[in-house]
């Protein structure tokens, strides 16, 4: 009896929460290196298990059957999804997991409203944090779903905008949600206001992400991640639960850092990305340069590319989203293995925003067993292009575009890029000459050093592998 009441006492539960968030922080600090990361993640998972256990011990808990049903459904959906998802589909999986988190947040806020009859007799600050959680959670849920739809190609990846009205409409929606919130906080108990708030936020979430082009996805996914984290922290304050506050806030911080890093790596401000653009930019030039000079591209064959690389001392592979789409990572690994066997130094130059989420390329290459040490971040990679004989660009475009350095009126001007044009020669693997996702012309393709190998990235790399074996 005494033990039972101790186990259910508020203090014991609180202590377990402290243990849990301590483990979250300790676990996450393991993510700083590949050697400790697996353990770090598992430690954080243990923290989560403890937090869940502590919640079960809380005095007065009931409705066990329903809780079990909820957890069972979640497990039945989450486990197979996580087990089966392909590494190339990771961005949409993360978007989806992020979305359901946001969904849980706004549902909780809604039920709190209903149970307290419109926050009747609830401290004002709790009302405010609940309403904040409701708005941000709803934006995050719908925004993440749209991001998922775009990445999964259920929705068209190109930006869908309302044109000039976009920002104005978004602002109105935000004001609408806030107005409902203010009315509730001021004492109105009408449920229609709460539903209105959630609907305004939902439409806002949709309209925020629909105009985002594929190239901007890493920023948006990070931002939505931060949103869900912050809304969870707000829920924590509303429910007076320290585990939620700490965990939510850490995710908020992490998402904010990532969002900033991504935006910096594209030389774009976060508001500009959220306001839409990039893919909406008018395509400049076709085959002709600004001064009207006709430019030509040199196309090459897999055999020539293979020979070119075997004569190199150092080959740098620059992967982009095209590699992910073609699922070419294993073929690429096979190719670099063959090159290494021939005594050629191989490295991978990875732009922070290559792909559709932060670190996307690294995950794919790790899946294909590329050694961690060969993965070079942008700054390190750029320092060494000068002594690189061949750069092999696989399905990357904007992150190699020299216009970002030189052409002041280019939409990507000022974005840090991988200076592949400094290497001895460049081979670009590309499906066709159609401009990439962002619709921006890339002078790299017309450079004298550059030869183009057209075709599906996986097929092209496969052919190069065959040629290398034959040499």
């Amino acid at each position: 009896m005494i033990l039972g009441s101790f186990l259910q006492s508020e203090n014991f539960v609180y202590v377990l929460y402290i243990v849990a968030f301590g483990l979250f922080i300790y676990g996450l600090s393991g993510l700083t290196g590949p050697g400790t990361a697996v353990r770090g993640n598992r430690i954080a998972a243990v923290g989560m298990a403890i937090a869940i256990l502590a919640t079960c011990l809380k005095h007065g808990m009931g409705h066990w059957a329903l809780i079990v049903v909820g957890i069972a459904i979640g497990t039945a959906v989450g486990v197979p999804a996580a087990r089966q998802v392909k590494m190339t589909a990771m961005p949409q999986m993360v978007a989806l997991f992020n979305g359901v988190g946001g969904g849980a947040v706004f549902l909780i806020a809604w039920v709190e409203f209903r149970e307290s009859h419109g926050f009747d007799g609830v401290a004002t600050y709790i009302t405010i944090f609940s309403l904040f959680a409701a708005i941000v959670g709803s934006v995050s849920f719908w925004g993440s779903n749209i991001a998922f739809g775009k990445l999964q190609e259920i929705l068209p990846g190109r930006p869908i905008t309302l044109g000039r009205a976009q920002q104005f409409v978004n602002l109105l929606l935000l004001l609408g949600a806030l107005a409902c919130g203010v009315a509730i906080a001021a004492g109105s108990h009408q449920e229609i206001l709460m539903i209105g708030l959630l609907v305004f936020a939902a439409v806002l979430g949709n309209l925020m992400v629909l105009p985002i082009g594929g190239a901007d996805m890493p920023v948006v996914i990070s931002l939505l991640n931060a949103f869900t984290g912050l809304s969870a922290a707000a829920t924590g304050i509303a429910l007076n639960n320290p585990a939620l506050i700490v965990a939510g806030m850490i995710v908020g911080a992490s998402g904010t850092i990532l969002t900033n890093l991504m935006a910096t790596a594209m030389n774009r401000s976060i508001p500009a990305i959220v306001a839409g653009g990039f893919g909406g930019v008018v395509t400049t030039g076709g085959g002709a340069d600004d001064d009207g000079v006709e430019r030509t591209v040199k196309s090459t064959s897999a055999a020539d590319a293979a020979i070119q690389m075997t004569y190199a001392n150092r080959v740098v592979v620059v992967p982009g989203y095209g590699m992910a789409v073609a699922q070419a990572q294993h073929a690429v690994r096979e190719m670099t293995k063959l090159l290494e066997e021939k005594g050629i130094e191989v490295a991978f130059a990875i732009h922070p925003v290559a792909g559709r989420m932060p670190g996307h390329m690294n995950v794919l290459l790790a899946e294909a067993d590329v050694p961690y040490e060969q993965l070079k971040e942008m700054e390190d990679a750029n320092a060494e292009f000068g002594r690189t004989d061949v750069s092999l660009v696989i399905g990357a475009n904007d992150v190699t575009n020299p216009d970002a350095r030189t052409k002041a009126d280019s939409p990507i001007y000022g974005m840090p890029i991988l200076n592949v044009d400094e290497s001895g020669s460049v081979i670009v693997l590309k499906r066709s000459m159609n401009s990439g996702f962002a619709g921006i012309d890339n002078p790299l393709f017309y450079n004298d050093k550059t030869s183009m190998l057209f075709g599906d990235a996986k097929a092209s790399v496969g052919e190069i592998v065959e040629e290398l074996k034959a040499l």
């Binding site: 937090a51 809380k58 486990v79 359901v100 991640n225 992490s254 961690y372």
Partner: protein
């Protein structure tokens, strides 16, 4: 003076923000995807919120339905997030011992 619940919680909020910032800043670009899905799993902690509201009150059919969905959502977030992160990180770890001899002795 005894701090109110609000001020205590706000202190926790602010400090957690700084701790998060300090810890996460050290994560290299290479591990950003696992970081993202790992932190993703952590914000699945809203699962607790769903459990608490459902377990401590949860009256009315609609409320119950909404909360069961919330708990299911939270669980997907937690379970899926940790599993997927584990899968990814295993790949990063996989080759490590083969590559550098001075790596961990295991």
């Amino acid at each position: 003076m005894i701090a109110s619940t609000l001020t205590t919680n706000l202190s926790i909020l602010v400090l957690a923000g700084f701790v998060g910032y300090a810890v996460i800043s050290k994560v290299p670009n290479t591990l950003h995807t696992p970081l993202m899905s790992g932190t993703n799993a952590i914000h699945g902690i809203v699962l607790l919120g769903g459990m608490l509201v459902l377990g401590l009150s949860g009256d009315g059919t609609l409320n119950k339905i909404l909360l069961v969905i919330a708990v299911a959502f939270g669980t997907i977030n937690v379970v899926g997030g940790f599993l997927v992160t584990d899968r990814m990180l295993e790949m990063f770890k996989g080759r490590k011992p083969r590559r550098d001899a001075e790596g961990d002795p295991k």
